[in-house]
């Protein structure tokens, strides 16, 4: 099997973040500042990424603006020839820093949106004043003409505001809106029963997005990630394991996706010890679920095997208890009943919402 070079790299520069969203995709064991790669190491990794074919670099976190060297990191990424995208809550992006990031070659900002008003957004984000600050930052971004995507993370508590969310994206001058329904990894997994939208909300969301997409064609482009528990077929996680993208965590561990560290039998290498290309092409973890040879019987005989590659490995582990199983979201999965059970359980959630907790500070 020939392995294509990666197109995109997600650099999780830090796990630190002023917000505490209960669906954060960071792992539940957060890394502290002392574990983070330094500036020079990140810049070396950006250069390695560009040399091996990465075109798109997503500078993310946590909150990437929590890094005091974010401008130097942006400059390093730009100098490596990468298309740079800052994935941010906006908190910490002062006008001066925005100017410096622009001067350092920032191509695009993806701004998260927790809710359409301060009460809802600050409750979800666990950060009072966050919504007002975000709106100020959004205006600063618009006034500078920086290309903007609004990333609206949607779940049971805000999906009913979808129409207002779309209006806000237009008002804020965004070119793109991601309607990203929560994926149940990281902190979201523990809050699944609180966050799962209802089937009615899911159907309404599909209708609203389709209508708005047609109406706003040429004004706002949409990316829609529907809640996959209601789907007939699973999403092709990362477009296929180890086929298009890679993640680098704050301490330099290289992963095929956000949640891959939840798979206990895989061990992941670090850019501290290995070249990025060596990890991509040769490591056991990246080769574990590449291609289709490893697929279980249910998938081998399926006409969609090269469309969804068996779905999400982390979801298979989380729900079916086996990272090598068919994604249980698939209606053909022998474990599909478990997804239906989870949907039933979410109708009357018993566990309270757990907000993200900061990393423990070392003694």
């Amino acid at each position: 099997m020939s392995i294509p070079p990666p197109i995109a790299m997600l650099a999780e520069l830090t796990h630190r973040c002023p917000l505490a969203c209960p669906y954060c995709s960071n792992p539940t064991e957060l890394l502290g500042r002392e574990a983070e790669l330094d500036t020079a190491t990140w810049v070396r990794v950006f250069g390695e990424a560009a040399a091996m074919g990465v075109l798109q670099l997503h500078l993310s976190g946590g909150e990437p603006a929590s890094r005091s060297d974010i401008v130097d990191l942006m400059q390093g990424a730009h100098d490596a020839g990468l298309y740079t995208n800052l994935i941010t809550s906006g908190i910490g992006l002062t006008p001066r820093r925005l100017d410096a990031l622009e001067a350092a070659g920032m191509d695009h900002i993806q701004l998260s949106l927790q809710g359409t008003n301060a009460d809802l957004a600050d409750w979800i984000g666990g950060y009072k004043g966050g919504f007002d600050r975000k709106m100020q930052v959004a205006a600063e971004i618009r006034d500078r003409g920086i290309p903007l995507t609004l990333n609206a993370v949607m779940h049971r508590h805000n999906l009913d505001d979808l129409e207002r969310t779309i209006d806000m994206a237009v008002e804020l001058g965004a070119r793109r809106l991601e309607v990203a329904c929560v994926q149940f990894h990281g902190w979201a997994a523990g809050n699944r029963s609180q966050l799962l939208p209802t089937r009615e909300q899911t159907e309404a969301a599909k209708r609203i997005v389709a209508e708005a997409e047609a109406r706003l064609r040429g004004t706002l482009a949409f990316d829609f990630v529907p809640p996959d528990y209601y789907a007939d077929y699973p999403k092709a996680c990362m477009g296929g394991w180890g086929s298009a993208g890679l993640n680098v965590t704050p301490d330099g561990t290289v992963l095929p996706c956000h949640a891959a560290e939840t798979i206990p039998h895989l061990s992941f290498q670090s850019v501290r010890d290995h070249a990025l290309s060596e990890i991509w092409y040769n490591s056991d973890a990246f080769n574990a679920y590449r291609g289709t040879d490893w697929l279980p019987d249910t998938c081998q005989s399926c006409e969609r095997k090269r469309i969804d590659f068996g779905g999400c490995r982390c979801q298979a582990l989380a729900i079916a208890g086996d990272a090598g199983a068919t994604d249980p979201v698939c209606s053909k999965s022998p474990d599909h009943d478990r997804v239906l059970d989870l949907l039933c359980a979410a109708a009357e959630p018993e566990a309270p919402m757990q907000w993200r907790q900061p990393a423990r500070t070392p003694a």
Binding site: G53, Q56, D107, R176, A214, A221
Partner: protein, 103 residues
Amino acid sequence: MTLAPALAPALELAPGDRPYLPRGVRVVDDRVRGGKVLLGPEKAVALDAIGDAILSRVDGKASFAEIIADLAAAYAAPEAQIAGDVQRFLVGLRARMFLAVQA
């Protein structure tokens, strides 16, 4: 009775429209895979020779009509056929907000 037209605004370019790549969208050499690639917010689109030929003429100065005439001359093809292909390609980019137009 005909139904009302869809609400979708028409994105077709008029002959005098001058298309351009907005800030945050550019065409670069793909040093590893070869060829040209269109980079925009969170997307990379590999360009085939035709896409490259079209976008290399999109500079914010040339009108749609001028781009068509130039391509028809360069490829010795009928303008009507070229116009259809180019229109489809540019409308697709415009719908994804990878292309803007000034009158």
